[in-house]
Amino acid sequence: MVINIIDDIEKSIRETAKKLLEEKKVDLIIGYTKGSIPLRSGPCFITDASQTGMLVWNQSCDLNLAKYLAKNDDRKIGIISKGCVGRAIVHLIVEKQLNKENITIIGISCEGVLNRAKIMVEIGDKEIIEANIEDNKIIIKGKDFNKTLPLQDYINQLCITCHYKIPPISDIIIGNKKPEKPPKDDFKDLNEIESKSSNDKMEYFKKELNRCIRCYACREACPMCYCSLCFIDQNKPVWFGKTADISDNFIFHMIRAFHVAGRCVSCGACSSVCPMGIDLNFITRKLEKIVKERFDFESGINLEAPPPMGTHKFDDKQEFMIEED
């Protein structure tokens, strides 16, 4: 019974947050709160122990809260961290963007979040009035329809393959069920795309990215996108086009992906926040695969391991290089 466990976690989150605030161990708790429409959640920033009732935890908590931590923030912050939030924090520490001393990681075991875009496509972009998750089912009520969907089919792909349900480092861990370790990641979910011809791949991604309106929600939601001025906004020199033309969109998403290679913590926030429902998870998965298979690296796991783009090995694979015939 998924729902019970999640309820318990929510309760413990509130109690833990309250205690931390009351004991003045933290100045601020960053957590999730209910969104104003169903299947949505938002961040909340709690400084007063009496407000901890706002905190929630459910399968719509798709943001990566590490986004709200800042390098020069001197406050003592307690942050509700599912696995990928914890990973983001670790990697940000590796990249010298955070001071661990000020952060209390409240680790929670996460069963995965929903792929809302997929649900919206399933119900034809109709308005959801009410949504509940019970017995591994998502029960959706609209004005003139009811729909029950199997929960498992609408969990984000990244969560299904996720190996880090709880943060790699935590100060407190909440969760009454030891998360099952998923089977070894074989990246089978990529097989379909990878086996396509170049042309078909390009068609697929162009079709997806054609919808992009360049609102940069993907970038802004990404904990690893912390540049003060994104390459796309730089004008000395102007690197790439800012229009929503497919060629510019394609390049933007390609380079953004390259930029987070070896840094991406596979939280899927970029996809979850996309107002146009563009599925960027395939790209995220591919990045995971590249750095795992090439450099045996997973980001945000180890505070000591140098990021793959910040080091090299003499015997890195070079099978991609051309040779004379």
Binding site: E95, K96, C227, S228, F231, W239, G310
Partner: protein, 562 residues
């Protein structure tokens, strides 16, 4: 010096290179084509642009047409760039405003059979060259003062020779040794191969020379606590018995040597009747030896999974010591159990021959079937006989390797130089720069980088001193102007992720007191790894700027080939 703001005026000089270019390409046509390109105000062609007359044409054109960019379209910049650069400088043009277009190696010579295609390609190359020239910037070379003094870390045989040599060349030298006495491992040796000289004799000789040398300051019982600065200008803090001393030097030599391995838990080592080869040397000093059966085992604790390397001198040590014993008492039975005897060269092979002649027994063993040491006998499988044999012993001598010093890591961090996998120091290039580190002004000698014998230690000491003197012999150093830096206007872009700092092969990047990235111009070689890796694109690589490279990409993008 031309002003930065004046309009760009490019002069293009096409070289026939006799018939090398002119025989394939229509140089006049190229000259005409060049004249049509933006910002080109002058174009000309010569039979040999590199000849006196060609250079004169360039200089005159700079004067006459007020050129502020010069392009020569001829051969490879790898050979002729310095020549044309100095011609430009003579005419008052910053040498970095000169640009080369290679239409010989890349065009006329490799497309001789397709002159039309070659002509079109040459046009494209010129177009790209002009585009790049437009974006060129004048650069200043940096000049730094050099402190004509050196620090030698480690007072062993290698370090002492380096110090003595530097002093002889007239450089003030500081020799720092962490132990109470100079000499390092020389102190624990008896006689030295290849000529059986007494170790103490060699040590006394060089030590007295060093102590008498006014140019050398010796600090014993002293540790290095901090090293700051860069080539020509290092600031070093050392600590002698709790007293902190600051010294300024222009170059540093790392001669910290290495440590003999104590074979704990190997072959029953006990330090009494089962001792190491180094301990044997001590025994031999007073010749307090009363064993009739001696067995030596080679490659103890080395050439295995933990330590893949060969320690280089142990075969020779064993031979030398065995011969010394045989000389004193020819009746002593000595057996050397070895994996491979390593006695290169004439003098060393001679030892081996003498050893065999004197009746020393050599038995080869394989790592799969190592000798089994018992109370007073050794069981060894003899490969040639195909059977196990038993040798009695009263003294068992284990030849152990030199291993890296425990504090190597600490010193490496202070110097920002790399260690290899066994924690020995790693030189810049095993063949091209064997006594240099990648970091300028820091050199290496002796067993700090690899176990070597005394002879080699001495040569390396000299070698490192010679390398250091190439810096110290100059009052100032001129450093290449084409380096990387973090421009003031890009400082906001930098978020301090330290990727550049991790990647810089020369450790030229550091974080300053304000926690900002800073590239030490003197150390930077302009390779551009930092700038290309910077996720924020905050670092500027002079002379290969983004704008310059992009201009070449733009110049020709988007068009079909003719």
């Amino acid at each position: 010096m031309k002003s930065e703001d004046e309009p760009i005026r490019i002069g293009v000089f096409v070289c026939h290179c006799g018939t090398n270019i002119g025989g394939v390409l229509d140089c006049e046509g190229l000259t005409e084509y060049a004249a049509t390109l933006p910002n080109v105000v002058f174009s000309d062609h010569n039979l040999y642009t590199c000849a006196e007359i060609g250079l004169k044409t360039i200089k005159e054109a700079i004067e006459e047409h007020n050129l502020n960019r010069v392009i020569v379209c001829s051969c490879t910049p790898r050979t002729h760039e310095p020549l044309f650069r100095s011609a430009c400088e003579e005419a008052g043009l910053n040498k970095y405003l000169f640009s080369f277009v290679n239409i010989r190696e890349q065009c006329s010579w490799v497309h001789m059979k397709k002159p039309e295609d070659a002509f079109e390609k040459a046009k494209d190359l010129i177009k790209m060259g002009v585009a790049r020239a437009t974006k060129l910037e004048a650069l200043e070379t940096i000049v730094v003062d050099v402190d004509p003094s050196a620090l030698v870390i480690g007072g062993g045989i290698s370090g002492m020779n380096a110090a003595s040599n530097l002093s002889k060349q007239g450089f003030k030298t500081y020799l720092v040794e962490k132990e109470k006495n100079l000499g390092g491992l020389l102190n624990s040796l008896y006689r030295l191969f290849p000529n059986d000289q007494e170790s103490s004799e060699l040590l006394k000789d060089i030590e007295s020379r060093i102590q008498a040398d006014k140019n050398i300051t010796v600090y014993t019982s002293t540790m290095i606590t901090s090293i700051d600065g860069f080539v020509g200008n290092f600031e070093v803090e050392i600590n002698q018995n709790g007293n902190s001393i600051r010294i300024k030097v222009g170059a540093i030599i790392v001669a910290v040597g290495a440590t003999p391995l104590k074979p704990i838990n190997l072959f029953g080592y006990d330090g009494k009747i089962r001792i190491t080869q180094f301990e044997l040397e001590n025994v031999l000093k007073n010749y307090s030896l009363n064993a009739n059966n001696i067995v030596m085992i080679q490659c103890v604790g080395t050439r295995n999974e933990e330590r893949m390397y060969c320690s280089n001198f142990c075969c020779m040590s064993a031979l030398k010591n065995a011969l010394i014993i045989k000389e004193k008492n020819p009746d002593v039975h000595i057996a050397i159990l070895f994996r491979d005897m390593h006695t290169p060269g004439i003098a060393y092979e001679e030892y081996y021959r003498r050893a065999r002649e004197s009746g020393i027994i050599f038995i080869k063993y394989s790592p799969e079937k190592p000798p089994i040491v018992e109370e007073n006998k050794i069981k060894i499988y003899n490969e040639y006989l195909g059977t196990e044999i038993i040798i009695p012993y009263e003294l068992l001598v284990l030849s152990t390797p030199l291993i890296a010093n425990e504090d190597n890591k600490q010193i490496a961090q202070l110097l920002k130089v790399p260690l290899e996998e066994n924690n020995f120091f790693l030189e810049a290039h095993v063949k091209l720069r064997p006594n240099d580190f990648a970091t300028d002004g820091v050199y290496i000698a002796g067993s700090a980088k690899w176990p070597v014998d005394i002879t080699e230690s001495i040569s390396q000491g000299y070698a490192a001193a010679a390398r250091a003197s190439t810096i110290l012999s100059h009052d100032t150093l001129e450093v290449e102007g084409a380096t990387s830096y973090l421009p003031e206007e890009y400082k906001d872009l930098c978020r301090g992720c330290e990727i550049c700092l991790k990647l810089c092969p020369y450790k030229a990047i550091r974080k300053n007191e304000k926690d900002e990235i800073e590239i030490i111009q003197v150390l930077c070689k302009g390779c551009g790894v930092c700038g290309a890796s910077c996720p924020k694109k905050a670092i500027k690589i002079k002379h290969f700027t983004n704008e310059q490279i992009l201009s070449e990409i733009y110049a020709l993008g988007g068009k079909e080939l003719p």
